[in-house]
């Protein structure tokens, strides 16, 4: 958005406000604009911009994508295509703790599927879903590169290895 | 001849006495969908697709068998009529295979035509579907009983030639099917493959095997020819695609015309694009084309006549 | 210019360097099935239906993106090639609704055409099928994603022909979809309904909504004509069934525009049968509009214009010309205003 002109736009109920009147602007938005400015003149910056925007917001809300589209002059459909293509991007907020269950080959061979089933039963959610209390989001990933410790899961990037189904309840209890 | 006046869809029309409502409509370009009707055959009134609403009449009478009367008020397209027709089509399509993509009949299929017109998908009444074996045992007719809508036209046209009468209805209710004696394949019946039934079938239940895979109906141009094998004067269509003759198909036979396999195959032979106009003779195991004069031994006939004249 | 000679199905053909195998085949009337290829769009090599066998090459290369080489030996119809194509068709059909009876595209559907040719029924690999909502929210285009074969031509038409980039792929693998951002329906996206996507869709995923139920491809006569809406001079085909115009389709051979059209040209033809349309001039007599003859009407206009010009000067008159006229008619209109009336007060509705 051009900072010089006072501009008020209403896109699908989300209001973007001018960056000159700081008090009206979401601080996240300033960070977002900084990210965009940083990459604007580089070649092909979309993926790092999305990655950093996701770090700021925790996920990629619609209005953020619309903003990126406008600021970087990339068609919205293309951005949506990219966001839905890469596993890393999230269009909905995640739970407080993100469980990544590795189902790489080594983990599969050493019983990763049982670990997943146990977690699914325990939390009553399936791959990709978030518990109602937003405590956990469950995601299946293919290999986090800790194959030597298979089967593994990682919760908030902490790796738990050499798991058996009966370990699960105890591990989950550590996360609030 | 007495002339009757009646009102169809608000339009006043005149027709001769003895006309059915269906005929009256068609005379005046008012379209009525039909599946079991054929003007050459006695109407069975079985498919019920041609139902209309007639003032003073109970229910929805089928137009094909209802005689027009003086002052009759007919509605052919009101909501009630269209809804009834749609239900009939939904029922038919629900028990019909949906392999239109590869169905030989597509482009000339009455069921598909009306389904399209009435927006019928067959999804409403999905349930048990027939799963009868396909009769693929003879070289002429492919018979898929699962596609049959039991309109009975094939039976009627087969029975129109007394010594044929190969097929008829068998079983009853949902299990009704059209079958030869003992429900055998056609090859085990006394069918002579005249293809009357194929020519009249409104759907893909009966298909001319010689045409399979050769093209869709809309790709063909048709030229009507009259068979010269006997004096009956049966008609055939020569089908061409992109200017090339693809095959000969039977046309639905008028009353009194027998239609026969010989006629169709003979015509096929006669109009075959590969047919040569010139004779060949076997010379040392190889066929070589030679002029007619030589073939008939008349090579120097002109010379001979000339020499005689001298 | 360099010519290459290659052998296709045992036949020697010569083509220019830079020609693709597909082009070489089509130039020589050798049929190759394609779904994602369109001469107006950049090639994708995605549908894989045009695969052929080429001596010395690994696997079966797609002919649409394989360039010819000197002495290349190509086979387009051997059993291996045909069986590979059939498998691809079987896979597509296994995930395609079989409502051909009511599908508007039937008769013009490439998938059905090849399915018929190759005898593919979709029975072989039956399994999960997509079940996505049908986008029925706009008056022009009916979009049924379940029929989409992900050929990507609509995306390219939107980007390369129209420059709008409303459409793109989203998700991946078996879940791949094509559509506007966030999978919004067309009318909630920035689409302006030029219908270029419809014109390239090889299946029934995108169809002209107004033509639904009005006739199938084989019943329709196409009449090529020039669009009356503006001065660009786009050509298209009026689709006529039973003597009635049922809609407009692109004519790929149109010299000015190819398959591209704008929303007005493609979908704005319903005025033909509009009950509001005037067929004779009307003159207001005693406050009531009364039908009149053209002579009568034109005489009246000429007299009145003359009077106004005499009493108030030429600049008291202005003309607004209409996009439904031809370029020539609009030229005449401005000529009339400038030369006859004597004013520059002339404008045109397509400018506003």
């Amino acid at each position: 958005m051009n900072a010089k002109t006072f501009k008020k736009e209403n896109i699908k109920g989300v209001i973007f406000l001018c960056t000159e009147c700081q008090d009206l602007v979401d601080p996240k938005e300033i960070t977002l604009d900084q990210i965009i400015t940083k990459y604007k003149h580089e070649n092909g910056p979309l993926i790092p911009v999305l990655q950093q925007a996701q770090e700021v917001y925790g996920y990629l809300p619609t209005h953020v994508l619309q903003h990126i589209s406008k600021a970087m002059r990339i068609p919205l459909a293309r951005i949506y295509g990219v966001v839905t293509f890469y596993a890393q991007f999230r269009l909905t907020p995640s739970g407080r703790n993100v469980i990544n269950v590795c189902l790489g080959t080594a983990c599969h061979v050493r019983g990763g599927a049982k670990v997943l089933e146990t977690i699914e039963k325990e939390l009553k959610i399936k791959d990709g879903a978030t518990t109602e209390d937003r405590r956990f989001t469950l995601e299946v990933v293919a290999c986090i590169g800790a194959c030597g410790l298979a089967p593994v899961i990682s919760i908030n990037n902490e790796v738990h290895g050499r798991l058996l189904p009966e370990h699960i309840t105890g591990i989950l209890a550590e996360y609030e | 001849m007495a002339v009757l006046k009646l009102t169809i869809d608000g339009r006043e029309v005149s027709v001769p006495q003895g006309t059915t409502v269906l005929e009256a409509c068609r005379m005046h370009d008012i379209s009525i969908p039909t599946l079991c009707h054929d003007k050459e055959l006695t109407s069975g009134g079985s498919c019920r697709l041609c139902v209309v609403q007639i003032e003073g009449m109970r229910n929805l009478p089928p137009a094909c068998v209802t005689q027009a009367t003086q002052g009759m008020m007919v509605e052919t397209q009101n909501l009630k009529v269209r809804a009834a027709r749609k239900t009939i089509l939904e029922l038919l399509v629900a028990n019909h295979p949906l392999d239109c993509m590869t169905c030989e009949k597509l482009g000339d299929c009455s069921l598909a035509k009306y389904a399209y017109e009435y927006g019928v998908t067959g999804e409403i009444y999905q349930g048990e579907k027939r799963n009868a074996p396909i009769d693929d045992g003879n070289p002429y007719i492919l018979r898929d009983p699962n596609k049959c809508i039991l309109c009975g036209k094939c039976i009627a046209t087969c029975n129109a030639v007394t010594e044929r009468s190969v097929i008829d209805y068998a079983y009853r209710g949902f299990n009704t099917k059209v079958a030869p004696f003992m429900d055998t394949d056609l090859k085990d019946s006394n069918c002579v493959y005249c293809n009357r039934c194929v020519a009249i079938c409104p759907v893909g239940a009966l298909v001319d095997k010689s045409m399979i895979g050769k093209g869709r109906q809309w790709e063909f141009t048709k030229e009507e020819v009259i068979c010269t094998f006997c004096e009956s004067g049966c008609k055939f269509d020569i089908n061409s695609k992109n200017g090339k003759i693809i095959g000969v198909t039977a046309k639905s036979a008028d009353n009194g015309r027998p239609l026969c396999l010989k006629g169709r195959i003979g015509s096929d032979f006669r109009y075959n694009p590969n047919r040569t106009e010139m004779p060949f003779i076997n010379q040392d195991g190889e066929f070589v084309q030679i002029p007619w004069e030589e073939f008939l031994g008349l090579g120097n006939i002109v010379e001979k006549i000339n020499s005689l004249a001298k | 210019m360099e010519w290459f000679t290659l052998t296709i199905d045992g036949r020697q053909v010569s083509v220019l360097k830079g020609t693709t195998v597909l082009e070489a085949c089509r130039m020589n009337d050798i049929p190759i099935p394609t779904l994602c290829h369109d001469p107006e769009l950049t090639p994708a090599g995605a549908c894989r239906l045009c695969v052929v066998q080429i001596e010395g090459m690994r696997n079966l290369p797609p002919s649409c993106v394989t360039q010819v080489a000197q002495g290349m030996v190509v086979e387009t119809q051997n059993p291996k090639v045909r069986s590979a194509r059939k498998t691809i068709l079987e896979l597509l059909l296994a995930n395609h609704p079989l409502d051909c009876m009511t599908c508007q595209k039937m008769g013009n559907c490439s998938l059905a055409e090849y399915a018929y040719e190759y005898g593919a029924t979709g029975e072989l690999y039956k399994g999960e099928q997509r079940d996505l909502p049908v986008d029925d929210g706009n008056p022009f285009i009916l979009r049924d994603q379940n029929k989409c074969i992900s050929c990507g031509k609509c995306i390219k038409a939107c980007t390369e022909i129209q420059g709008k980039s409303i459409l793109d792929f989203s998700f991946r693998g078996f879940d791949t979809q094509v559509g506007p951002a966030f999978n919004l329906p067309y009318h909630e996206s920035a689409c302006d309904f030029c219908g270029s996507c419809v014109s390239v869709c090889p299946v029934g995923a995108l169809v002209e909504k107004k033509m639904i139920g009005k006739g199938r491809a084989w019943e329709v006569t196409k009449v090529q004509t020039t669009c009356p809406f503006c001065g660009v001079g786009c050509n298209f085909d009026l689709n006529v069934n039973d003597g009635k115009v049922i809609g407009v389709t692109s004519n790929p051979n149109a010299p000015v525009n190819g398959k591209a059209l704008c929303v007005k040209g493609r979908f704005g033809m319903d005025m033909i049968y509009s009950p509001n349309r005037l067929t004779t001039p009307l003159i207001r007599k005693d406050g009531v509009l009364v039908p009149a003859s053209w002579d009568e009407a034109l005489d009246l206009v000429a007299t009145k214009l003359g009077e106004i010009k005499k009493d108030y000067g030429p600049n008291s008159i202005a003309a607004l010309s209409c996009a439904h006229c031809t370029n020539e008619e609009n030229y005449l209109m401005q000529k009339f205003m400038r030369a006859v009336i004597g004013t520059n007060n002339i404008d045109h509705c397509a400018r506003t």
Binding site: C143, A146 | - | R48, S83
Partner: protein, 596 residues
């Protein structure tokens, strides 16, 4: 009292997850407590390779490896090994054959047969310090190239070495460089493919984490030979430590003048960027990877034009993977003849394999090309876990193949493996034992490729899904005998018509398992039995009331709540809730749980 010495603590992702960082702090505290800061330094290294026994510590001076170390062991290690020069026997590895503790690193079977070229610094140096790299001859190869050799000479050297791409297909590296060097254009790129997506492979991660400068140096030399002035390392976002170490290394290399303008006064310029991927396996494919850097969906495009001619942003581009780049400095420094001595006739040098699955010694293994699978799995890997019988080894990731016992003497090199219906691929070796069901494994690979298919071309998008569905049916006992033929036909068609490597190789696991394990398919289909007792749909668990003593151990350990009963009375399994994990069978001391 010892002179200046180093304690090497493995801090690779594997060991870090089992507490390596706590060990480092504890060691530092203990060293300080003992007043040894002056003479002993603690080094957090990259992966030492022996993940199975992690966290591991090496006392460099004595070449001793301590395994499965915990914080509680630290004081003892310092007290006896560092101060008294006595080994802590209980932390030494027990040799499988002699059943005696092994004191010397070089005597450990896991390491004895390896030949560490690419991994020679991993686990020994601190990857976050450039000095440790330069102390071990780092950047000498770059200096040699820039100062003594022309780009053509470098290219020639790489060609002569016989190095082939370590990313899977095994294309000769020198030849590839030559194409890019020969392509028209003033701007060229080199890319390091660090999108190591094959599940079961982590050698690239380990190299980037443990020795990032070797990759940078390799890329610099390659860029010099090719004529490129910019490079990218495309690394998976799942490898945060690799990205971090790489970024630190790039910063240090820039500072030291190895990166940037006029490098070492040679006039050669080179900039290196790190690009974090966003989670798509297909981005390991060259054209998809470039599309990803360009900010697009990672959908492969058709070739030609090849990347060497038209690559990143339309410019000539050369892509090699981590291990390939990492080989380059060694080749330049030691000469192509030295390199070409190793390996087989057509596959030169060494290859790193990630040994995982049901093998005793999981970890990273670097061996000369041509070593047999048996040597790797049994001599280095120590054979199958828990004394179970070996069934198969899966090699080359989800696109490779599963090789049975009778193929174990196959030598690992590009050509022998291709002939056997597998491929070197990234180098993941997943060992499977008798309890692994091969149909289930094929299904597993297809579920992976189905999820990772980009969706562009028909055969891969639709075909992987259908192959998966058929396999899924078979594992549930709902298969038909003709399914095997259907699978084979479909597999061949997909191989022959797919656009990129993913689709072209996705059917490999199916073809290989049908080829070697057809009987298992038939058992599922005809007898509705899973011979490996792995397909849960074909299993049912119950408790033999006669044998059950009512100890309740099964119910206590059951991860769901499907086992109920009263103490001292026979317990019962409720089938509906049972997830068939098999925990009860393992726990029961009376063999009372029946699996049928």
């Amino acid at each position: 009292m010892a002179e200046n010495q180093r304690i090497l603590v493995c801090a690779g992702t594997g060991c870090a997850s089992s507490g390596a960082n706590k060990l480092i702090s504890a060691l530092e505290a203990e060293i300080k407590l003992q007043g040894l800061e002056e003479t002993v330094s603690i080094v957090g290294t990259g992966c030492q390779g022996f993940c199975e026994k992690g966290p591991t510590i090496v006392i460099e001076k004595h070449q001793v490896l301590y395994t499965s170390v915990t914080v509680d062991d630290i004081a003892e290690i310092v007290a006896s090994d560092i101060i008294k020069d006595e080994r802590v026997e209980r932390l030494l590895l027990i040799d499988q054959v002699t059943q005696k503790p092994v004191a010397k690193l070089s005597e450990i079977r896991f390491f004895a047969k390896q030949k560490r070229i690419v991994l020679q610094n991993c686990g020994i140096i601190d990857p976050q310090k450039i000095e440790e790299y330069t102390d071990r001859k780092g950047y000498l190869a770059l200096q040699k190239a820039l100062k003594e050799m022309s780009p053509d000479e470098v290219l020639e050297e790489v060609k002569k070495s016989g190095l082939r791409g370590r990313g899977g297909a095994g294309f000769p590296t020198g030849l590839k460089w030559g194409f890019c060097r020969g392509a028209a254009g003033d701007k060229k790129y080199v890319i390091c493919n660090a999108d190591e997506g094959d599940p079961g492979a982590f050698m690239d991660r380990s190299v980037l984490e443990g020795d990032p400068h070797s990759v940078i140096e390799g890329m610099l030399i390659g860029a010099y030979a090719i004529g490129a002035d910019e490079g990218y390392v495309y690394c998976r976002a799942e490898y945060p430590m690799a990205i971090k170490h790489l970024e630190i290394a790039i910063g240090q290399a820039e500072e030291a003048g190895y990166l940037g303008k006029n490098i070492l006064g040679s006039g050669f310029n080179f900039n290196l960027n790190v690009f974090a991927g966003a989670g798509a396996f297909v981005c390991g494919e060259e054209t998809a990877l470039m599309a990803s850097i360009e900010g697009k969906r990672g959908m492969p495009r058709v070739r030609p034009p090849f990347p060497a001619v038209k690559g990143l942003w339309g410019k000539p581009t050369n892509i090699n993977n981590v291990e390939t780049w990492s080989n380059i400095p060694h080749i330049l420094r030691n000469g192509s003849e030295w390199y070409a001595q190793m390996g087989t006739e057509k596959s030169k040098g060494t290859k790193i394999f990630a040994l995982t699955g049901k093998v005793n010694n999981t970890g990273l293994v670097e061996v000369p090309m041509g070593t047999t699978l048996r040597e790797i799995i049994f001599d280095i890997g120590g054979g199958v876990q828990n004394g179970k019988a070996f069934k198969a080894v899966q090699i080359g990731g989800p696109s490779g193949g599963c090789m049975p016992e009778e193929m174990l003497d196959t030598s690992v090199d590009y050509d022998s493996l291709a002939k056997a219906g597998a491929m070197v691929g990234s180098g993941g070796l997943v060992i499977m034992d008798e309890t692994t069901c091969m149909v289930d494994i094929a299904r597993f690979f297809l579920s992976f490729t189905t999820k990772e298919s980009c969706g562009k071309c028909t055969p891969c998008r639709e075909g992987t899904k259908r192959m998966y569905e058929i396999l899924d049916r078979i594992t549930k006992g709902e298969g038909k005998i003709e399914d095997i033929d259907t699978l084979e036909n479909l597999a061949h068609a997909i191989k022959e018509t797919s656009l990129c490597g993913l689709g072209q190789t996705a059917p490999n696991p199916i073809l290989a398992t049908i080829k070697y394990f057809r009987h298992e398919f038939e058992a599922h289909i005809i007898d509705h039995k899973c011979p490996a007792h792995a397909c849960s749909a074909l299993l049912s668990y119950s408790i033999d009331a006669e044998k059950c003593k009512g100890c309740g151990l099964c119910a206590k350990n059951c991860p769901t709540t499907c086992i109920t009963g009263e103490k001292k009375k026979p317990y019962v399994i409720k089938e509906d809730d049972c997830i068939k994990c098999g925990t009860c069978i393992d726990k029961c001391k009376f063999d009372a749980v029946i699996r049928a």
